[in-house]
Symmetry: C2
Subunit: 382 residues, 2 copies
């Protein structure tokens, strides 16, 4: 019996990532492969999400790196189901994706799955989904991808350009496959049953290998892709999987903006809100009393503020180590730990708001006029 | 046990149309409704397909005629799954549709279901489907619809304009509904499972009642439409159903170009081919010997040449009656009956070839530039 659940629509429980690798049939990102990735990326300053095992699993990363070494190159693909408000957890794989693009100078496709969200959430109107999508796109663009090498598209807008390939893909996937992989049943609507074909499509955008940096809950789509890609004349996609940013209340599950404001820091939260949320809701690994804490020290493994610093907000290893050691030794108190995090989050969000302003100006490049985007609107995939 | 089968993908056996009305839950096109349709169409020269009970069944034709009478109007919708070669059977509902458009001056939408054909026929390449679709569209345009009031579109090309509405529709249809209505199972590909939503969409093109003139095998799609339309804020569609043009070899099943050249007269058949096919393959209701025929007379009920004259090639009732009576009395021989049919078919095909030339010039109006077509490309259905 599993005490956790990981599907594209639900992540809950305390996740055993080693077990998940076995369950999903992916491979652990081992030292040799990680070092090769770091070497090819330029050698210096490997991203802290790599160093700290946050990206922990993969499929066929080796052949991607081989192709890069041979000069053939590869491309990146990730995506987002538009939601009312993006939180910092949503940015995690995107930040790492930007690092990959910067280092490997490759094209990046970002699919905005407005269709899937609409099909899955029967309580949403189409206009809500569109409003959210347009808003989310600005937050994504604010990550700062290369505007000439990045194409951000909404499924609903690009569908004409991919429809023949979408049909070709759908023709290869039976209802029973979709049921087995995604847990659909006969009560699932026919739009949802069809949708997996669309999420597969961007892996076919170039006749190179595709590398998908994403949280591991999306992996079922890539399993289907890998079953059918070669029969359609494309490569099996590669993927590099990250863990989930834990929600404020504790290290189980993943951050989710629909689960209530107290689980997540939204990209729109102001300084005071951030401070209140962290102080009020962030699960602490500290002891019950000051005395006990000074004596026993805090538990960084379950301390959400420490985990967030590790995953996202403290890239400097030596600084993180100091925080870790001081907290473990009881020298640093919970309030101090939270104080550091609050400061970091607010600095990050300030930067994000500024980058989002620039993104408002640049978003057309990503979607229509940039070099890659313009070329994408000229083609139809058959 | 049924000795015949009628689904959107297969028609076989000797069809009991009265039984089919009960099975499908449609209504017989009775005298009162037929006379109302004829009266509103202008009163004179009711189409022979109406007079002769070839259009025999309907759903909610009454409210369509009421709306027309009240000045609200209605619109027409029909379609075609592109095939390698169109035969005269394919034109039957289109010819009646043109009559309706001429008489009621209404908009007509013709959906070319290139997606469905590709999903259903795994042996076809996309390029084959497109070649066939473009070719079929010329044959359809040759029927002579009003170029300012007709929109002919390929599903693959118009998908961007209907995608939000398509999702809204798909969200209302469960896998079990699609299975129950179309006989899908888990081995059916996910594209086919999704497709019924698209065939429903054109019934929502206007906020008026839609009337679909089509052979009765397409009715399952309208059953689904009628279940969900009002929940989406549209009218339940109306339909007027015709029987099938029997194939050359006998009055069972329907004409099908994929069943072999000897079952159908193709629109591309030349005069000699038509003559040979009719003389060689057309099932005759005549007697085995000349003597017996003179004595007993022929059976017009099973005589395919007579049936074709009745359905398509002899609109004049008194002339048809003479043929009927002479054949029944043994005065007219099988060879003479076939001779009349050959002459009529060849005259029809000569006209069709000429109209197809004009259609080559006009096809852009139906698809892009005509008044209705141009307005359709400007809108997105949400």
């Amino acid at each position: 019996m599993d005490e956790y659940k990981v599907t594209p629509w639900e992540v809950s429980g305390e996740i055993d990532y080693d077990k998940l690798i076995k369950q999903f049939g992916t491979s652990r990102l081992d030292r040799a492969l990680r070092e090769k990735l770091i070497r090819l990326s330029g050698g210096d300053e490997p991203h802290h999400m790599l160093r700290r095992d946050f990206f922990f699993s993969h499929r066929d990363l080796g052949p991607v790196l081989d192709d890069y070494e041979k000069g053939k190159g590869f491309f990146l693909y990730t995506g987002r189901g538009p939601s009312k408000a993006m939180h910092i957890g949503h940015l995690v794989p995107l930040i790492f994706t930007k690092w990959l693009q910067d280092r490997f100078k490759c094209n990046l496709y970002i699919e905005i799955t407005d269709d899937e969200k609409f099909l899955h959430r029967r309580d949403y109107e189409w206009s809500d989904i569109q409003k959210n999508a347009d808003d989310n796109i600005l937050d994504i663009a604010a990550v700062g991808f290369d505007p000439e090498r990045t194409f951000i598209f909404k499924d609903s807008e690009y569908v004409r350009n991919v429809y023949p390939l979408l049909l070709k893909t759908a023709r290869k996937i039976t209802g029973s496959t979709a049921k087995a992989v995604f847990g659909f049943d006969d009560s699932t609507n026919i739009g949802m049953q069809f949708y997996p074909a669309y999420q597969v499509i961007p892996t076919f955008f170039e006749k190179k290998r595709c590398l998908i940096p994403a949280a591991i809950d999306q992996d079922p789509y890539w399993r289907i892709q890998r079953d059918i890609a070669e029969g359609l004349g494309y490569y099996k996609t590669s993927a590099i999987h990250c863990k989930f940013l834990p929600p404020l209340q504790g290290i189980s599950g993943k951050m989710s903006s629909s689960a209530g404001a107290e689980t997540a820091i939204l990209l729109t939260d102001d300084e005071k809100t951030v401070k209140n949320k962290i102080n009020k809701y962030a699960f602490s690994g500290g002891q019950a009393t000051l005395e006990e804490h000074r004596k026993l020290g805090g538990n960084t493994d379950i301390d959400v503020p420490f985990q967030w610093l590790s995953i996202l907000f403290e890239p400097d290893d030596s600084k993180l180590k100091t925080i870790h050691d001081d907290y473990r030794a009881g020298k640093m108190l919970t309030g101090e730990m939270k104080g550091i995090l609050i400061e970091r989050i607010n600095a990050f969000l300030k930067g994000h708001r500024e980058r989002r302003k620039i993104a408002e100006r640049d978003v057309d490049k990503y979607m229509k006029t940039g070099k890659l985007a313009a070329s994408m609107w000229e083609r139809v995939y058959e």
